[in-house]
Symmetry: C2
Subunit: 339 residues, 2 copies
């Protein structure tokens, strides 16, 4: 399958990456990883085995890096950001484990999902374990404000995941309803992770809110691109099965936008494939074709660009320097994944 | 099926109950219930619907009552015990929701389980939501000590549930391994719920430990009796399917004790039914018969009696009065369920 949008203005060799941030945070990130391994330990061997599977698969550690980077951006020089970044990653990992149970997807980050290897049962319970460990780390840190931010985020994430279930297979889902899901299930943790840096740096409410806005808009853009890639990416590049959302009947932004422009016959196609889940092997390609026909993928990218711009504006109030530049490049990276 | 143990020394009409405790805590309990309904609210309607299903099914509210009663026992006269009792119930409810997903059992408290009605997906996510709500309630309360007790309890519960999975279908499971599971998955929350009263009453470490010991031993006895009833209760009385554990191949105390006394043929029976899960309709009755033959159910009850005695001893240090008497009767009630 071809890439969704031709990279006219973005030649491949100048693509933004998170390398600058990873390099900048290298020693902190190593400490976070060590703590993660330490704290997912349990005498019940299956727990570190299963948790290790998903934690080692690694991902980009984007969320904990937001905590580490915003802490430095806000002039924090202590050690607390390490444990709190690990807590953020544990919450994220717990969500992934429960999400995989829910979605029964076959691939995550290019590897078999934990539930495909061990079954649903341990995935749910190890998720609960990691979630509890996250709260233990926060309690040890002792900041009620951080606990408030992350317990609230956890509740909102769960609400978003349920809302996503409710809107699944409902082709009347509006763009607003889609955004509500994305804001809750993805952006809330990005916002919380970024905000913690402001708390540690003892910044003003306004600055905390700016960090929240940065994380939230970045998170929304990130999820929008993710949803776009589910239709447009090369399977090997994304490391997850292309078409997962289609097969599950999830109503993501490319679908919402393609539906807006659909004629009666196309509407019947979307109804059959996403509501009735009656799909043939050619349907995914046809779905992508319809999206191209109506410019739905380009419009999706445009929406992501809008949120990236908002994320960038939120950062402007903070001093320019290595951290802000690296975070700026993360915003570019988020968008460039879509090219 | 006949009751497991003839109630020689405990005529039915003098059976202990939790009524005394329920009456004593009536107004507090109403406030807890109101708060529970309030806090399981969400604009995502499926959440209160599903959570309401399991919360309304009600159960005995045993765990939150422990928090309420020990708070009063320790001379606490404020309001904080209401929210913390609700938090305890939310953690318990979240565990039930995830446990039902795990066990795929058909009945809980005489009603269809949430996952049988709504499917596994929402059950996992609504469990996550309630778990997060529990932490939000604790954060609002603001005691890091309570947060520590309950975040630790949550991690231990998850560990216990995973350990239970690991020992499932393993007929070499020892009585110690069984007790480790019970201590973690059930007794830890009883212990935490009781301990909170000591924290609110600002009692000494020794008294907190005594409350922990009371709750822990009561919880162990409670679970042992529960496991016994899975083989011995009348289905209508227990309100859950008798033989669930047998069908799942769970290795509970009656099985461990029956296995200890088993000859080669009996061992083959247990292997076929619990390891291979190759069961015929008559097997459950035969399992119960083997348990009777070797006195395994009576011995199970004896173990529960031992833990009840320990729970009672732990209460002795507290002033005698309405609360202690009501808690004493809860211990009796716990044991009397087995008759």
């Amino acid at each position: 399958m071809a890439l969704a949008v031709t990279a006219k203005d973005k030649p491949v060799d100048t693509k933004a990456s998170i390398d600058r941030l990873t390099t900048l945070l290298d020693s902190d990130l190593k400490r976070v990883n060590t703590l993660i391994v330490e704290r997912m330990h349990s005498p019940v061997e299956l727990i570190p085995q299963l948790a290790g599977h998903i934690v080692a698969a690694g991902g980009k550690r984007l969320r904990p890096m937001l905590t580490l980077a915003t802490s430095r951006l806000c002039g924090y020089h202590g050690d607390r950001h390490i444990a709190l970044a690990a807590a953020v990653e544990f919450i994220h990992t717990a969500t992934l484990l429960h999400d995989d149970v829910v979605d029964a997807s076959d691939l995550r980050r290019g590897l078999a999902t934990a539930n495909a290897v061990w079954g649903n049962k341990p995935s749910v319970l190890v998720g609960d374990f990691l979630f509890s460990r996250a709260f233990e780390l926060m309690v040890e840190d002792g900041s009620l404000k951080v606990l408030e931010i992350l317990s609230r985020a956890s509740a909102v994430i769960a609400e978003g995941e349920v809302l996503q279930l409710v809107t699944s297979n409902d082709i009347t889902t509006s763009e607003d309803a889609y955004l509500e899901v994305v804001n809750a299930k993805t952006a809330q943790l990005f916002a919380a992770a970024a905000r913690i840096g402001g708390v540690l740096g003892e910044r003003s409410d306004a600055e905390e809110k700016a960090l929240d806005s940065f994380g939230r808009n970045l998170g929304i853009a990130f999820q929008i691109i993710d949803d776009m890639l589910d239709y447009s990416a090369l399977e090997s590049e994304l490391g997850k099965t292309v078409g997962d959302d289609f097969r599950d009947g999830k109503i993501t932004l490319p679908v919402v936008l393609a539906l807006k422009a659909a004629d009666e016959r196309e509407r019947q196609f979307w109804h059959r494939t996403l509501v009735d889940l009656d799909q043939t092997p050619d349907d995914l390609a046809h779905a992508v074709e319809l999206m191209h026909r109506h410019g739905a993928l380009a419009a999706t990218l445009e929406r992501a660009r809008f949120y990236c711009a908002a994320a960038r504006r939120a950062l402007v109030t903070f001093r320019d320097g290595a951290e802000r530049q690296a975070l700026d490049e993360v915003i570019d990276f988020c968008l460039d994944r879509g090219y």
